[in-house]
Symmetry: C2
């Protein structure tokens, strides 16, 4: 796949102008960001950043797919962000410089735009709207994680699975290229359980599936009363 891909200033500015959390800034701001951003390619499965590693850059997905997840001591993994083009993957690190507990890995070959953290925060402080957006997104993350905790407490696995499928369908469309393992890591359960329930959903005609792929047929059936999509 395309490696060492570089982008023109205009192209970079355009990416920023469409990026999640970057709405509402002046064109000058996009140009400013573009000027200090470099591109960096990662191949499938490459680690973008690891836990306990001080943060040096701000990263934004330009192409591909990036998984941000937390590993437990026992090696279990919880995925809490699947970042598509236009999504930033580390909002906090650039400001604090401190290590977090997250791991970011390229799910497919991916292209990122990367800004030296100081340069990024310097720029951010000049554009309060960006700060506001960032804080708003962090708020969404917190709300989302908390609602997942609630789900773990009171909801069955089927429900959590449906919610994940519903959310993925909103974000990626009806064709989902994910394995049962990945769905399990999103739902907070085991592969076997996911497989079983996916089986049930298939029997009911809600989904179809083949190796490494799930196709959502009847998205409405995934929607339990009062369900709302979570942030991924």
């Amino acid at each position: 796949m395309k490696k060492n891909c570089t982008l023109s200033l205009e192209a970079k500015a355009a990416v920023f102008s469409r990026a999640v959390g970057f709405q509402g800034l002046s064109n000058a701001a996009y140009d400013e960001l573009a000027a200090i951003a470099n591109t960096k390619a990662f191949v499938k499965d490459e680690i973008i950043f690891a836990p306990e590693e001080p943060c040096r850059f701000f990263d934004l997905v330009v192409e591909g797919l990036v998984r941000v997840s937390v590993y437990s001591v026992l090696g279990k993994r919880i995925t809490y962000l699947l970042a598509v083009p236009g999504e930033p993957i580390n909002l906090v690190g650039p400001f604090t410089g401190a290590p977090r507990k997250n791991t970011a890995e390229a799910v497919k070959d991916s292209l990122l735009m990367r800004i030296e953290r100081q340069a990024f925060t310097h720029c951010a402080f000049n554009h309060p709207q960006l700060i506001t957006n960032i804080i708003g997104m962090l708020g969404n993350s917190i709300d989302s994680s908390n609602s997942r905790i609630l789900d773990m407490v009171e909801k069955k696995v089927v429900y959590r699975l449906k919610r994940i499928l519903y959310t993925l369908n909103e974000k990626f469309g009806p064709t989902l290229n994910f394995t049962a393992v990945e769905i399990a890591e999103l739902s907070g359960t085991t592969t076997e359980s996911i497989l079983r329930f996916l089986g049930h959903l298939r029997e009911k005609g809600v989904i179809e599936k083949s190796r490494g792929q799930i196709r959502v047929i009847d998205a409405d059936a995934l929607l339990d009363p009062e369900i709302d999509a979570i942030w991924l």
Copy 2:
């Protein structure tokens, strides 16, 4: 208890200078904050803010104890912040103005300092260090929620209970004035389960308890290998 309590400018500035997330600011900044802050008292069980309610103020606990929690549709509650004096209870709202899903209630009679949201953010934008601190705290919240999700996935209730007790002990000291219901809401489980396991811990001499109170005797015993305290 003391109601309608007002504070002098100096007192308010002093509270800010010791507040969580407000370290490292200039004295001028503390004075500035003090100048725009008002105090407001809440009696036990009074609601400070509710979900779906646009945010109008920034709030900081001066005295008392405030619970910030999320309710599920079924009425279950998860507590994710127990704010003691010096802790802010809504970091996101002031910036976005948007409603969140959280409820804040006074656990005891409490005194808050409150700043009109626009005034607060205006001030914050003039002090980048404050913004950085706030973003850092939001990062901690996210990490903490995510590690709770991991705990829900792979850890048993006893473990989660121990972790909560350990954390509460760090924050409040060995005497914990909480009912089993409240501990359950912190651990993400039921009252009955908590009561059972508290019983076991008492038998082992790790804690003592009486109505509405738990005393930690052997804090080390709460510390499983690799356990780390969560943010509350």
